[in-house]
C-alpha cells in the first residue's frame, strides 16, 4: 500500500514508514521493518510512533489507513480559512453526533493549530487573517482529522485539509507548490465569493468590497487548481473527465438580496440525519442558476473537466464582519457541512 505523507507530500511505500519510540524518551531510534511492528526500540523503549522517511511523525494509525486529501481552494479573500474553521467546528460539535461518527484532530499539532483558529474566531470574535502563500521553504502543514464510523462496517478515514492560500493559485508558478497535494486529492471544495462576481444589485449590501484588484478571479483559480488533479482511469488512453468530486460552494449567501432569499432552498436549514435528495437538488439548481446569472463562466469549465460536480450555498459566519470583528449575534454557520458531507458520501467515508 502506498501512503501519502501529509508533510513531504510524497507517496511512500509502507516499508518507508518506519517505527520510532516516542519522542519523550529522547532516544529517537528509528527502525525499519516492513509490516511487523517491533515491540521495543534498540534501547528498550516501547515503540509508539511511525515516521515518514522525511522524518515527520505521522498521526497514530495513519500509516495503516492512509489519508484522504480534501483541498479547500478559492480566490484571494474567498474566506477559505474561516470556512474551514467553522466547518471543523460544526462537523465536530453537530454533525458527528447526529451521524453517529466521531470526528476529531488526529494529532496534537493539528489540534493545537485548529484551536488557535477556533479561539480567535469563536471566543475572541476576531476575523481570521489571510493565509500566507506557500513557499518551498515554508510548506503548509495540513490540518489532519480522523473520522471514525462504528458499527458493522467500521471504517476510519483520515481527512487532510489543505487550506490553500488564495495567493497559492495566483499564477502558474505558485500553483506548482500545491500541485503535490492537489494531484492526490480525493475531493475539492471550491469556494466562490459572490462579491467576486458580476452580481449587480443581487447583494443586499452593495457596498461590500468586491474582488481585490490585480488577483485572479474564480475562473482562473479553477483553471490552476484543475491542472494537477488526477484524471480518471481511462485518462491515459483518451481524455476523460476528472473523477474527483468537486463541491462548488457559494459563500456568504446571507448577503444575498431579500428578493433572492424568498422561496430559496439555500436559506432553509438542511438536515444531517436524513439527507433529502430534493433539498440537495433544489440547492444545486439554485446555486447553478445564480452562478449563471452572474456570468461566472464556471459551469462550462466544470462540465468539461469534471465528472461529478455539486453546487452548494453556505454562510460560515451568518453575517458580514463588522470592522474585522464577528457581529454581536455571534458566529452563525449556515449549511457549512453540506459540501464536505457530499464529498464524504461520494468517497464512501460515511456511506
Amino acid at each position: 500500500m502506498m501512503v501519502f505523507c501529509p508533510y513531504c507530500r510524497r507517496r511512500r511505500a509502507e516499508g518507508e514508514i518506519r517505527f520510532r519510540c516516542h519522542a519523550d524518551y529522547g532516544c529517537a531510534a528509528v527502525q525499519g521493518g516492513r509490516f511487523s511492528r517491533p515491540a521495543v526500540c534498540v534501547r528498550g523503549h516501547p515503540i509508539l510512533d511511525r515516521v515518514c522517511a522525511c522524518g515527520e511523525r505521522l498521526p497514530t494509525g495513519y500509516a495503516s489507513h492512509g489519508g484522504s486529501v480534501v483541498a479547500v481552494v478559492g480566490a484571494v479573500g474567498a474566506g477559505k480559512t474561516t470556512y474551514l474553521t467553522v466547518l471543523v467546528r460544526v462537523m465536530r460539535e453537530v454533525v458527528a453526533g447526529r451521524l453517529g461518527v466521531t470526528f476529531g484532530a488526529a494529532d496534537d499539532d493539528s489540534d493545537r493549530r485548529y484551536r488557535e483558529l477556533e479561539n480567535q474566531l469563536y471566543d475572541e470574535g476576531r476575523a481570521l487573517p489571510g493565509t500566507q502563500a506557500e513557499t518551498r521553504r515554508n510548506p503548509r502543514r495540513p490540518l489532519i482529522f480522523k473520522l471514525e464510523r462504528g458499527g458493522r462496517q467500521r471504517r476510519t478515514t483520515f481527512l487532510l485539509f489543505y487550506d490553500t492560500a488564495g495567493d497559492d493559485l495566483e499564477d502558474e508558478a505558485h500553483a506548482q507548490h500545491v500541485a503535490a497535494y492537489l494531484s492526490v486529492a480525493r475531493g475539492m471544495i471550491f469556494l466562490v465569493d459572490p462579491s467576486h462576481l458580476d452580481v449587480g444589485t443581487d447583494l443586499a449590501d452593495t457596498s461590500r468590497s468586491g474582488r481585490p484588484t490585480g488577483v485572479p478571479g474564480p475562473r482562473d483559480v479553477l483553471e490552476y487548481a484543475t491542472r494537477p488533479l488526477p484524471l480518471g482511469r481511462r485518462g491515459m488512453r483518451r481524455r476523460t473527465r476528472i473523477q474527483v468530486p468537486v463541491a462548488v460552494t457559494l459563500t456568504k449567501v446571507d448577503a444575498l438580496a431579500e428578493s433572492l432569499k424568498r422561496q430559496s432552498a439555500i436559506h432553509r436549514p438542511g438536515s444531517f440525519e436524513h439527507p433529502d435528495p430534493d433539498d440537495r437538488a433544489a440547492v444545486h439548481e439554485q446555486v447553478r442558476a445564480l452562478l449563471h446569472r452572474w456570468n461566472s463562466g464556471l459551469e462550462e469549465r466544470l462540465s468539461i473537466n469534471y465528472e461529478t460536480v455539486g453546487y452548494f450555498g453556505v454562510s460560515p459566519l451568518g453575517a458580514a464582519l463588522e470592522g474585522g470583528l464577528v457581529p454581536d449575534d455571534g458566529v452563525r454557520p449556515h449549511r457549512v457541512a453540506d459540501p464536505l458531507l457530499w464529498i464524504l458520501d461520494r468517497i464512501g467515508a460515511i456511506r
Partner: protein
C-alpha cells in the same frame, strides 16, 4: 549488492624517447584507483595489476585480452592515463612507452581502441581517457560532436536500462589534461567521487555513468586551471551502474543526524569527525559545506528549543564548540576547510592519524605507547620522533596525581568550598586576590607559586591571615581544619583538589582543559593534569575503594590497622602513600585519649576526647574513658500543671557550652520505670509535656547527658505526683422554642461530665445536677422568657473532677420560619422579591454570600448579623423591589422576634446579564430562525414562542448550541407569533430568568403547490394544484416558464404563462387550476410559480420531479 566489474588500468609515465616529457602521476593514480575499485563497498571490481609503461604492442595485447575475457554480465572499465598525440588530420593517438614525440603513428590510435570497444561483446563498457585532447577519441578529424555517438559505437548490444558503451574524456578536443601535485585532475576527482560516494548525485546508493560524468564536470570546472571533460555514449539514457555509494543510500538529513546523535550519546567521539559533525559529505564543495553548516546549526537550535532532553547536553556542547572553535573555520578558503575536515576523519591505517588520535587533545604521548605504535606501523624511531616534532606531540609519562585525600577532612572541606563557590584553598586564603591568578606547581615537582603574586606562600601565616579576614560562619570548620595542617599538607591538599576538579570534569565529559584553566592552573600544567587524568585507570580495585570509603567516613583507625597489618610489599601504591599520615593521626589521637584519661576534671577531659574523636572517630577505648567523666546532674527539679500540659523546671549546672543536653522522663505509677518523652526543652532549664495522660498520677524526672554518657536521674524533691483534670471546651447552649440543647467537647481520658442547671435568680442553688456520658444534653424542662446558667465539669477515673465551665441562655420566644420566597428580575438592575409574611414578628429579607443554615434554625441577633446582610424589613407588604446585588449569593427570608432570628425559605441568586440589541426572527420555509446579540458572560437563554391560536412553547439554548446551529431554528406554521428571548441563570436550587427581548412576527401562511402535465386535459395542458395548511389569501400567483436549462429565480426570469389574482385558500384544502401551453412555442425546461406580492411562504414542488417532468417533454 555489488557491481560485478572488471577493470583494466593503464598508466604510462615514462617514455623511451626523450621527445615526450615524463608524467608524474599516472602510476600512483592508477594504484589508488585500483584500490578504490577493489573495495567491497564501492564495487568489488576485479582489477589485475596496473599495466605500467607498456609499449604499443603490449598495450594492444592487454586490451585484446581484457575485452576477450570480460563477461556479458560484467561492467568493463578501462582507464588509460598517458600523453595524447594528434596527427595532422586531427586524429588522436594514445602514447605508449615506445612512442616518439611528433610521430603519432608510433602510438595507439584512438580509432583502434574504438574498434576494440565496438567489437567487445560485453554490453557495458566504460572507457576513461586521462590525456590531452582526449575528446578527439573516436571522432576523427572533425570537431568533436558532443552528442550520443550512436553510429560510431552501436554494436548490437542489448538495449535496455543499464547498458551502453561510454567514453569519458578528460578534456575537450583542443584542451589539455593537467596534473596536480599528487594526482591528475580527472583521476583525482574520479577517486574522490567513488570513495566518498559524492558521485552518487541522486542519493540512491548507486553511481551511474551519467552521475559520474556530471560529478566530474562539476568538480573539474572548479579546479585550477579548470578543465572540461566530455562524455560520449551510444545511448541517451544509459544508467550503467558503475559503482556503489559506500555511504549507502542518502537518507534525509534529519534522520541521518538523529542516528549520529544516538551514536554520540554512547560515544561522543563520533563528532570528532567534522564531516559527521556538520553532515558534510563532500568537503571540497563549498556550496554544500555552507548549506550543511547552516542546516546543522539551525537543527541544533531546533532541538535545543524543543528541549529534547536526551540530546540536550550534547547539542549544547556542539553549539558551544561551534561558536568558540568552528564558526571561524567556515569563513576560510575551501582548501583550509577541506583540510580541516579531512584531517579530522579517523584513519586507523595511518601512523600519523593514529599518533594524533592517541595524543589528542593534550599533544602528549607516553613513550611506551608511541613505541608500540611505531612497531605496529614498522616505522623507525627517527621517523616517529620526526613525526611527533611535526605534529607538536611531546613524549611524556603521565604525572602522578594525588589520588587519596591527603588529610582526613579533605573531602568535607572540598564540598564546603564548592558550596561557597570557591575553587580551592588558594581561593579561600587569598579571596579576591586569587580570582584571576595563575597557579604554578599544581602538578609535578615544581614548588607552589602564583604567577601574579610571587609572595604567596601556602603556610600557617597565610592561613591565619586569611582566617582573620573571613567572616563567613559557613567556612569556619574549614579554617579550623586548615590551621592544623603543615605547609606540605596544604600544598598536597591544593594538588589533590585540582586533581579532583579535573577528574570530576573528565567524568562529566566536560572540557577538562577549560575547567582547569578556569581553576587558575597555568596552561602547560593544565595540559599535564588533563593528560594524567585521562590516563588514570577508570576502574579501581576493591582495596582502593575500601581505603577511600574508610577515609571519607573518618574510620581512620580501621584503615590504619588494615594497611599497617599488610606486609610492605603487598601494599598498593595508594596504601603506601596513606600509611605515614594515618600513623601520625592515630598516634596523636591515642596520645589525646591517654592524657584525657589522666585528667581529674571532666571539663578538662572533654575537649581532649572530642579532639581525639574528630581525628580518629573509631579510636578504641575512647568511650570507656569518656564514661569516667559524666556531666553534672541538674538541680532543683519542680513540676507544674499548665492547662492541659505540664511544665518541668530545673537548675542548670556546669558550663553552658560544654555540650550537655537534658532529657525528661515520665511514669504513671510509683513502681513503673521512667520513659523518655518528647518534651520541648527551652533555655536548657525547662521543658513542656504537651500531651500528658489525664486523670492519673504522673511522676517526672530530668537527666543531663553529654555524648552518650548520662548523669544520674533527678526527681522533684517532694516526690509527690501531679494530677491533670482538663475541663470541657467548646461549650454551647441553644434554645429552639421548646428546649435547650447544651453541647461540649471533652478530653479523651474523661469518663463523663456533670451538668448543673442554675437560674439567674437563684444562682447559688442548683435546680438539678446530672451525670452524662457523651457530648450533648437536651433540657426539655425550660420555660419561656427565663435566663438559665449551665455549669459543666469533666469527671475522670478515680473521681477526679475538672474545673467548671459555664454557658448562659435566655429563652426568648422565637418566630415561625417563612415557607415561600421568590426572586425575579423586575427590570434592568432591580429585583422583585415576594415572600409570605409570618403571623408573628417581622419579616427580614437578607442577603448572604454563603448558603444560610437550614430552615428553622434560630440564632441570636449578633450571630445573624455576622453572616448575613438584612436588605429590607417589612411588616406589611409581601412583595418588595430591591436593587440587584453586585455579586452572586443567597436571598433568605428571616422571621425576627425579639433578638431571635429564625431562618426561613432561601433561594440562590446568580447575576444574569441583560440581553439587549435587536431580536431578529426570519421565516425560512417551514422553519423560523431566531437570532440576537449574545452577551459574552451569558451561558444559557430561553426562547418562548406564543403563536396566535397555538400553545406557548419554550426552548432552552446554550451558547455553544446557538453558535453551532447558527441561531435557534424553530418550526413555523405561518401563523402570527410572539417571540421572546430571556437570559437564564441557575444556582444549586434556583432558576432565574433575566431581562430579554421580544418581537412579533406577522402571519405568513405556508402555501405549497405542484405543477404537472394534465393527463385528462387537452394536449399541452398543465395543471397547478395549490394547498395551504391554514387559511390563506394570495393576492397574485403566477406561473413562469423558461426554455433555458437554468431554474428561474425570479418571475422576470421567464415568460408568465398563467396567473391568478385574489386567490382564497381554505385550511387543508387544495385548489386546482389548468392552463394550456401554446403549441407553437418550444417546450419549457422549467415551470415555476411565484407569489410576487410576497404575502405567503410559497414552497416549490421537488426539483428532481420537475426536472424529469419538463425535460421529458
Amino acid at each position: 549488492m555489488a557491481i560485478d566489474g572488471r577493470a583494466l588500468l593503464v598508466a604510462v609515465e615514462e617514455f623511451d624517447s626523450g621527445s615526450l616529457s615524463r608524467l608524474r602521476t599516472p602510476i600512483s593514480d592508477a594504484d589508488q584507483l585500483a584500490e578504490v575499485l577493489r573495495r567491497e563497498d564501492v564495487g568489488r571490481y576485479q582489477v589485475d595489476a596496473v599495466v605500467t609503461n607498456p609499449d604499443r604492442r603490449t598495450l594492444v595485447e592487454r586490451l585484446h585480452e581484457f575485452f576477450d575475457e570480460v563477461r556479458d554480465n560484467e561492467v568493463a572499465l578501462v582507464h588509460i592515463a598517458t600523453h595524447g598525440l594528434v596527427d595532422a588530420q586531427g586524429n588522436l593517438y594514445l602514447a605508449t612507452s615506445d612512442s616518439v614525440g611528433g610521430v603519432p603513428n608510433t602510438a595507439l590510435s584512438a580509432a583502434d581502441l574504438a574498434g576494440y570497444v565496438r567489437a567487445c561483446r560485453c554490453p557495458r563498457v566504460l572507457v576513461i581517457l586521462d590525456c590531452c585532447y582526449s575528446a578527439r577519441a573516436l571522432i576523427g578529424s572533425m570537431e568533436p560532436r558532443e552528442k550520443p555517438i550512436k553510429d560510431e559505437l552501436r554494436s548490437g548490444a542489448a538495449e535496455g536500462s543499464g547498458s551502453g558503451k561510454v567514453i569519458i574524456a578528460s578534456s575537450f578536443a583542443r584542451g589539455r589534461a593537467y596534473e596536480n601535485d599528487d594526482a591528475s585532475v580527472l583521476t583525482g576527482h574520479l577517486i574522490t567521487g567513488l570513495s566518498s560516494g559524492s558521485a552518487d548525485l541522486n542519493g540512491d546508493g548507486v553511481v551511474t555513468a551519467e552521475e559520474m560524468f556530471s560529478y566530474l564536470e562539476d568538480a573539474m570546472s572548479r579546479s585550477d586551471p579548470p578543465q572540461a571533460p566530455r562524455m560520449l555514449a551510444d545511448i541517451v539514457e544509459l544508467g550503467i551502474r558503475i559503482a556503489l555509494n559506500p555511504q549507502g543510500p542518502r537518507r534525509s538529513l534529519e534522520v541521518r543526524y538523529r542516528e549520529l546523535l544516538g551514536q554520540a550519546s554512547g560515544d561522543p567521539r563520533v563528532f570528532d569527525d567534522l564531516g559527521r559533525r556538520y553532515l558534510i559529505d563532500d568537503p571540497f564543495n563549498l556550496a554544500e559545506v555552507r548549506e550543511r553548516v547552516a542546516w546543522t546549526v539551525a537543527y541544533w537550535a531546533n532541538l535545543a528549543r524543543g528541549s529534547e532532553l536526551g540530546h540536550l547536553r550534547i547539542v549544547r556542547r556542539l553549539q558551544r564548540d561551534h561558536e568558540e572553535k568552528y564558526a571561524d573555520l567556515f569563513t576560510q578558503p575551501i582548501e583550509v576547510i577541506a583540510h580541516a575536515i579531512e584531517s579530522s576523519r579517523p584513519r586507523s591505517d595511518d601512523l600519523r592519524s593514529e599518533l594524533r588520535r592517541k595524543a589528542e587533545p593534550w599533544r602528549m604521548i607516553a613513550r611506551a605507547d608511541a613505541d608500540s605504535l611505531r612497531r605496529r606501523y614498522r616505522a623507525t624511531t627517527e621517523e616517529l620522533e620526526a613525526l611527533c616534532r611535526e605534529l607538536g606531540i611531546e613524549f611524556r609519562e603521565p604525572d602522578r596525581l594525588v589520588a587519596l585525600p591527603p588529610v582526613a577532612g579533605a573531602p568535607a572541606m572540598h564540598r564546603i568550598l564548592e558550596r561557597n563557590r570557591l575553587r580551592h584553598v588558594v581561593d579561600l586564603i587569598w579571596a579576591a586576590d586569587a580570582q584571576d591568578c595563575r597557579i604554578v606547581g599544581a602538578v609535578g615537582e615544581e614548588p607552589f607559586g602564583v604567577v601574579e603574586h610571587p609572595g604567596f606562600q601556602l603556610d600557617q601565616a597565610a592561613v591565619a591571615a586569611g582566617a582573620s579576614r573571613s567572616e563567613d560562619p559557613a567556612l569556619r570548620p574549614v579554617w579550623t581544619e586548615l590551621r592544623l595542617l603543615t605547609p606540605a599538607e596544604l600544598v598536597a591538599l591544593l594538588r589533590w583538589q585540582i586533581a579532583e576538579i579535573a577528574r570530576s570534569a573528565n567524568r562529566s565529559r566536560a572540557d577538562v582543559l577549560s575547567v582547569l584553566l578556569d581553576a587558575g592552573v597555568i596552561d602547560a600544567e593544565a595540559r599535564r593534569v588533563g593528560y594524567a587524568v585521562s590516563r588514570e585507570p577508570r576502574s579501581r580495585d576493591r582495596r582502593f575503594d575500601e581505603l577511600r570509603h574508610d577515609l571519607d567516613a573518618g574510620r581512620l583507625y580501621s584503615a590504619h590497622r588494615r594497611v599497617a597489618g599488610r606486609p610492605g610489599k603487598s601494599r598498593t601504591k595508594e596504601e603506601a602513600e596513606a600509611l605515614p599520615w594515618l600513623q601520625r593521626r592515630v598516634l596523636l589521637a591515642e596520645q589525646l585519649r591517654e592524657s584525657a584519661r589522666e585528667q581529674a576534671e571532666a571539663r578538662a577531659a572533654w575537649p581532649l576526647l572530642d579532639h581525639a574523636r574528630d581525628l580518629v572517630s573509631d579510636l578504641p577505648e575512647l568511650d570507656d574513658v569518656a564514661r569516667r567523666f559524666p556531666p553534672e546532674a541538674p538541680g532543683d527539679v519542680t513540676v507544674h500543671v499548665r492547662g492541659a500540659g505540664v511544665e518541668i523546671r530545673w537548675r542548670r549546672t556546669g558550663d553552658a557550652d560544654a555540650g550537655v543536653r537534658y532529657r525528661v522522663g515520665r511514669k504513671s505509677g510509683p513502681a513503673a520505670e521512667f520513659m523518655e518523652i518528647p518534651a520541648r526543652v527551652e533555655d536548657g532549664c525547662r521543658a513542656y509535656d504537651d500531651d500528658p495522660p489525664a486523670g492519673r498520677p504522673l511522676w517526672y524526672c530530668v537527666t543531663a547527658e553529654r555524648g552518650f554518657v548520662a548523669s544520674e536521674t533527678i526527681e522533684p524533691a517532694a516526690g509527690e505526683p501531679v494530677h491533670l483534670y482538663p475541663p470541657v471546651h467548646d461549650l454551647q447552649a441553644a434554645y429552639d422554642g421548646s428546649r435547650v440543647t447544651v453541647s461540649w467537647s471533652m478530653h479523651p481520658d474523661a469518663r463523663s461530665v456533670i451538668i448543673r442547671r442554675l437560674t439567674r435568680h437563684s444562682a447559688a442553688v442548683a435546680e438539678f445536677e446530672v451525670e452524662i456520658r457523651g457530648d450533648g444534653y437536651a433540657d426539655d424542662g425550660v420555660e419561656e422568657e427565663r435566663t438559665y446558667l449551665y455549669e459543666v465539669s469533666a469527671l475522670y477515673h478515680g473521681d477526679g473532677m475538672s474545673d467548671v465551665v459555664s454557658a448562659e441562655i435566655v429563652t426568648d420566644p422565637i418566630g415561625e420560619p417563612v415557607s415561600d420566597l421568590a426572586v425575579a428580575y423586575a427590570r434592568a438592575g432591580w429585583l422583585s422579591v415576594q415572600a409570605r409574611r409570618p403571623n408573628a414578628g417581622s419579616l427580614v429579607i437578607a442577603f448572604a454570600e454563603r448558603e444560610p443554615p437550614p430552615v428553622g434554625t434560630v440564632v441570636r441577633g449578633s450571630a445573624f448579623l455576622d453572616v448575613a446582610e438584612p436588605l429590607v424589613t417589612t411588616a406589611v407588604s409581601d412583595r418588595v423591589e430591591l436593587a440587584e446585588p453586585d455579586r452572586g449569593g443567597w436571598f433568605c427570608a428571616v422571621t425576627v422576634v425579639g433578638d431571635n432570628y429564625t431562618y426561613g425559605a432561601r433561594t440562590q441568586f446568580v447575576r444574569i446579564p441583560v440581553i439587549s440589541g435587536r431580536l431578529v426572527v426570519r421565516r425560512r420555509g417551514d422553519r423560523m430562525q431566531v437570532c440576537w446579540p449574545w452577551p459574552p458572560e451569558l451561558v444559557q437563554a430561553e426562547v418562548v414562542t406564543r403563536p396566535d391560536g397555538g400553545p406557548e412553547q419554550r426552548h432552552a439554548v446554550t451558547r455553544a448550541a446557538y453558535q453551532n446551529e447558527g441561531g435557534v431554528w424553530l418550526p413555523s406554521t405561518g401563523a402570527a407569533v410572539s417571540v421572546e428571548v430571556q437570559p437564564v441563570g441557575s444556582g444549586r436550587r434556583a432558576r432565574l430568568t433575566g431581562i430579554g427581548l421580544s418581537t412579533r412576527l406577522a402571519a405568513r401562511p405556508v402555501v405549497r403547490y405542484t405543477i404537472a402535465p394534465d393527463p385528462a386535459g387537452a394536449p399541452y395542458s398543465v395543471a397547478v394544484t395549490v394547498t395551504a395548511e391554514y387559511a390563506a389569501s394570495v393576492a397574485r400567483l403566477v406561473a413562469v416558464a423558461s426554455a433555458r436549462s437554468h431554474q428561474p429565480i425570479e418571475e422576470s426570469d421567464g415568460a408568465v404563462v398563467w396567473s391568478h389574482d385574489d386567490l382564497e385558500l381554505s385550511a387543508g384544502e387544495s385548489s386546482r387550476f389548468t392552463f394550456t401551453w401554446a403549441q407553437a412555442a418550444p417546450g419549457p425546461a422549467w415551470i415555476r410559480c411565484f407569489a410576487p406580492n410576497d404575502d405567503v411562504e410559497l414552497l416549490d414542488p421537488p426539483v428532481t420531479q420537475q426536472r424529469r417532468r419538463w425535460a421529458r417533454r
